[in-house]
């Protein structure tokens, strides 16, 4: 049976925890706003680029471009995982890591050789303990570096893909649907696929476009840009998702701490009352004995 002092100490300690979790929640809420803002303001660029690319691809007909062509035999597969550096954000990183592991296993079962490239400390540690090389792992990436990093990564990927280092590249990241919902997503980034379906009706006079230089050269210039935007987008969504997940997790933790405190307080008060009653009985029975 816990003594009153024990309960008092526990209440104090849970209160401390609650203070920390509620502070973390507040910090995440502020960071989330910034992160969603930058994810949202990056969207016009991506949308316009995607639209234009579809139009060009649709207009140019069946185009052959190295970055668009699927290899007949897929042997080497590159998987890029994007997680956060820090934990305490619920299942945000864990879920993605486990799904990615399944994804890797699936590819291995098909006889593919899988190499990994991780972003964020959480995926680095996870895949390091599973025997993957973390030579190319990147951690401590902040928003100001996203643009440069995605450009550098796109360049490396393009070069490696063309050199035949890998035949397919996938990116795994948490898609930021809403504050409460982040979806682990796997997208194939190389070879690129452009859905030309639906492009025709929203373009109108697409056939009348004048391309300078030719459509094919233009496509060659647009595709690397598109790849870069895809990567940038996954960085931005991961950042926003991390803060959202942390906010939700910390909100839950704060609520649990409050519940625990009220339960403990109840127990404490009951114990105190029992002690008082006991003392009274002792006094009364002592007086009676006289």
């Amino acid at each position: 049976m816990a003594t009153l002092r024990d309960i008092r100490t526990r209440i104090a300690s849970v209160k401390n925890t609650r203070q920390i979790t509620s502070a973390m929640k507040m910090v995440s809420a502020a960071k989330l706003r910034r992160a969603t803002e930058s994810a949202t303001s990056a969207r016009p660029y991506q949308q316009t680029l995607t639209q234009t690319l579809r139009r060009v691809a649709a207009g140019a007909g069946e185009v052959e471009h190295p970055l668009l062509t699927s290899r007949d035999v897929v042997k080497n597969v590159l998987v890029i995982v994007v997680t956060s550096d820090r934990g305490l954000c619920g299942g945000f990183n864990g879920t993605l890591n486990r799904r990615t592991e399944d994804f890797v296993k699936k590819h291995r079962a098909e006889g593919h050789v899988v190499t990994m490239r991780t972003y964020g400390r959480k995926s680095k540690d996870f895949f390091k303990s599973r025997g993957f090389s973390t030579a190319t792992a990147r951690t401590d990436l902040v928003r100001a570096m996203f643009a440069d990093e995605s450009a550098a990564l796109a360049a490396t990927l393009t070069a490696d893909f063309e050199a035949g280092v890998f035949d397919e590249a996938w990116i795994a990241f948490n898609q930021f649907k809403s504050t409460l919902n982040q979806i682990p997503t796997f997208n194939r980034v190389l070879p690129l696929s452009i859905e030309t379906a639906g492009a025709v009706e929203n373009t109108g006079p697409s056939a009348d476009y004048v391309y300078e230089p030719s459509g094919e050269t233009l496509l060659g210039a647009l595709l690397p840009m598109y790849l870069r935007t895809l990567l940038l987008q996954s960085f931005l969504e991961t950042e926003a998702g991390e803060q959202a997940a942390r906010m939700t997790a910390m909100d839950n933790a704060t609520r649990n701490a409050s519940d625990l405190i009220s339960a403990l307080t109840l127990e404490y008060n009951r114990g105190r009352q029992a002690a008082i009653t006991k003392e009274l009985i002792e006094i009364v029975s002592g007086a009676e004995a006289l």
């Binding site: 990056a42 016009p44 234009t52 050269t217 210039a221």
Partner: protein, 86 residues
Amino acid sequence: MSDLHVEIVTPRKVAWKGTATDVQAPGELGEFGVLPRHIPFLTVLQPGIVKVRGPSGVLRFQVGAGFAEAGPDRVVLLVDSCDEIK
């Protein structure tokens, strides 16, 4: 004559948005200008200076590489970076 609706978009944000009567930009095959009712046109841009003649005078922007899409009544420039030259 109607105006052109101009947008300069970077990966970070929409850098500038407004109406103009004339836009000049550095294409890969040389500088080009767009006036209202231009034929739909798509080209690659080189880093350089974009001039936009708007209602409040000529604005100049230093832009990075990208591409431009010009239609009869609109011009969209997608560029890596964009800074207004004051």
